[in-house]
């Protein structure tokens, strides 16, 4: 029955009117989040539907257009802030030089000395660290404003991980690189935060539609994801309105309570003593649900756009609250971030220790990924505070994330130790037992989220005080 329905939808998606409808729904679903840029994305989907073999070139053109609009100066020049536009021009120049350097490396790889080829990734990350250091030094000597240094520094995580996947792919490739058709994978045009959804060219190739049926199936999945993203945004707005009395463009004013039912995480962290124990716990769980809904809507939009273009990569967030183990939650919560840590830290560490017992190898690789790799990722994200000249903000954020990474690594080691030796795949458990496990896992991540929440305004001490208050009756 379901397969028959899916087939009918796929047949409809292959017809001209079906494609037109698909593009219109895509525009309507993206419009609330992306504004006028939704039109550019819908046009790209239309072009990729008409010429599926040219989808990667369309994506590359789209990526350049979106980056220029997002990073570049705002027009008309005279009307907007000239200082902001000068900064935007510099940012565009830095991004252009970075990607240009990467493409030059791609072309010249065969003629480069062997040691450069072997250590390209290390050199790339060393170069990024030097660039951040140079920005910090230039600002410290008053040769650059803090805002400029911070803005240029914020480009580093956006470009670094994409470039890293690109280098990994290129190093294993014998033939020509196909630069233009893969260029979109080097540019931060979908989302922010530096995590590349769809990783690199090799990964994308595995999920690309090869015929009309696969394209229709991918596009239907894309549509499902965009509509799901809309639904999660709506649910999140409703949650915010009903629980915290917050208003948003997604919810009519009459639908939100005037008085918040629960304290926000911000209020809990600043003044935990003002609230009852049940309110602290309820606020903690509500914040976790809000974080999951936000991430799911964000991830579904990005993956949905790629699916509509004919690249059906796996979902980023997939019902993490149903997880019965910490490992499973981590896998389902932010898939592409977990993959980044797996690809660059976990797997290389695990492979380099073949003589050790499996349990020790796993623990070592988990610490390398969930702690060291995770800390490195977060330090890069926080480094713009340092470049802006706000060392105390950097320390406040970095120390909170350090605790977060240590606790996460501990939880994952515990989960791995419990899972090793047991058969892989989903385990059968009775409903009550599974429910208890799900609640325990969600509690772990809710409590953990305290250290990954918010800005530098919340000190390490305040986070710790809130933790203590979770175990204290008023």
């Amino acid at each position: 029955m379901r397969a028959g329905g899916e087939r009918r939808w796929m047949e409809a998606a292959r017809r001209p009117w079906g494609r037109l409808l698909l593009v219109l729904v895509c525009y309507a679903a993206l419009r609330p989040g992306l504004g006028p840029m939704a039109l550019v994305f819908a046009a790209a989907v239309a072009l990729a539907s008409l010429w599926p073999r040219r989808r990667r070139s369309v994506l590359s053109g789209l990526a350049i257009a979106v980056c220029v609009v997002n990073i570049g100066p705002k027009w008309p020049w005279g009307v907007t802030d000239p200082n902001a536009n000068r900064l935007a021009m510099r940012a565009l120049l830095v991004a252009g030089l970075w990607v240009g350097g990467l493409l030059a490396w791609t072309r010249l790889l065969a003629s480069l000395p062997r040691w450069i080829e072997r250590h390209s990734l290390t050199l790339l990350h060393l170069g990024a660290a030097l660039f951040i250091g140079a920005l910090w030094g230039t600002r410290a000597h008053s040769a650059m404003s803090g805002a400029t240094a911070a803005a240029l520094c914020s480009l580093v995580p956006e470009l670094l991980w994409r470039s890293s996947y690109w280098m990994k792919w290129r190093a294993r490739q014998a033939g020509p690189a196909g630069i233009w058709r893969n260029l979109f994978l080097t540019l931060p045009f979908l989302g922010s935060g530096g995590v590349p959804f769809g990783k690199g060219p090799a990964y994308i190739a595995r999920y690309e539609a090869r015929d009309g049926n696969e394209l229709a199936s991918a596009q239907l999945e894309g549509l499902r994801l965009l509509l799901l993203a809309l639904a999660w945004r709506g649910v999140d707005a409703l949650l915010g309105g009903l629980l915290w009395g917050s208003s948003s463009g997604w919810l009519p004013a009459w639908a939100s309570f005037r008085e918040p039912v629960l304290p926000t995480m911000e209020a809990l962290l600043h003044t935990p003593d003002l609230f009852e124990l049940w309110q602290r716990w309820a606020g903690l769980y509500s914040e976790l649900i809000h974080a999951i809904l936000t991430l799911a809507a964000y991830g579904h939009t990005i993956v949905g756009i790629l699916c509509l273009m004919g690249i059906r990569i796996p979902r980023n967030t997939d019902a993490p609250l149903l997880s019965a183990t910490i490992l499973d939650f981590w896998n389902r919560y932010y898939f592409y971030f977990k993959e980044l840590l797996m690809d660059f830290f976990f797997f290389p560490s695990f492979l380099r220790t073949p003589g050790m017992p499996v349990l020790w190898r796993t623990m070592l690789a988990t610490v390398a990924a969930a702690f060291l790799g995770n800390v490195y990722y977060h330090l890069l994200m926080c480094s713009q505070k340092l470049c802006a000249g706000d060392a105390s903000a950097f320390l406040s954020l970095a120390s909170a994330r350090l605790v977060y990474c240590a606790l996460l690594a501990g939880g994952l080691c515990f989960s791995f130790a419990g899972s090793l030796g047991k058969p892989a795949g989903p385990r059968k458990a009775g409903f009550p037992a599974r429910l208890i496990r799900m609640a325990a896992v969600s509690t772990f991540f809710g409590v953990l989220h305290v250290w990954n929440y918010g800005s530098e305004d919340i000190s390490l001490w305040q986070r710790l005080e809130f933790w203590k208050s979770l175990l204290t009756w008023n």
Partner: protein
């Protein structure tokens, strides 16, 4: 070239890691989690006595039957 028996044994092993899914030698993308990937690595290391780090293996190489079979062909 690896024997058909080696491939069959590998597919049988991978089937235990992805229960509920028909695994065939057609290059199907496997839905393997991190734990299952580790088990595949240990299986390959122990069965073929190879050091995978020396072969520039990526996790995604182990996530399809065709990728696994080509690895076994290299090591076998």
């Amino acid at each position: 070239m690896t024997s058909a028996e080696d491939r069959a044994r590998l597919i049988e092993f991978v089937s235990t890691l992805a229960p509920g899914r028909a695994v065939g030698p057609d290059g199907d993308t496997l839905d393997l989690d991190s734990l299952a990937l580790l088990q595949v690595v240990v299986y390959l290391e122990q069965r073929y006595g190879v050091r995978l780090a020396a072969h520039r293996i990526e996790p995604d190489d182990l996530r399809s039957v065709s990728g696994l079979v080509s690895l076994v062909d290299r090591f076998g």
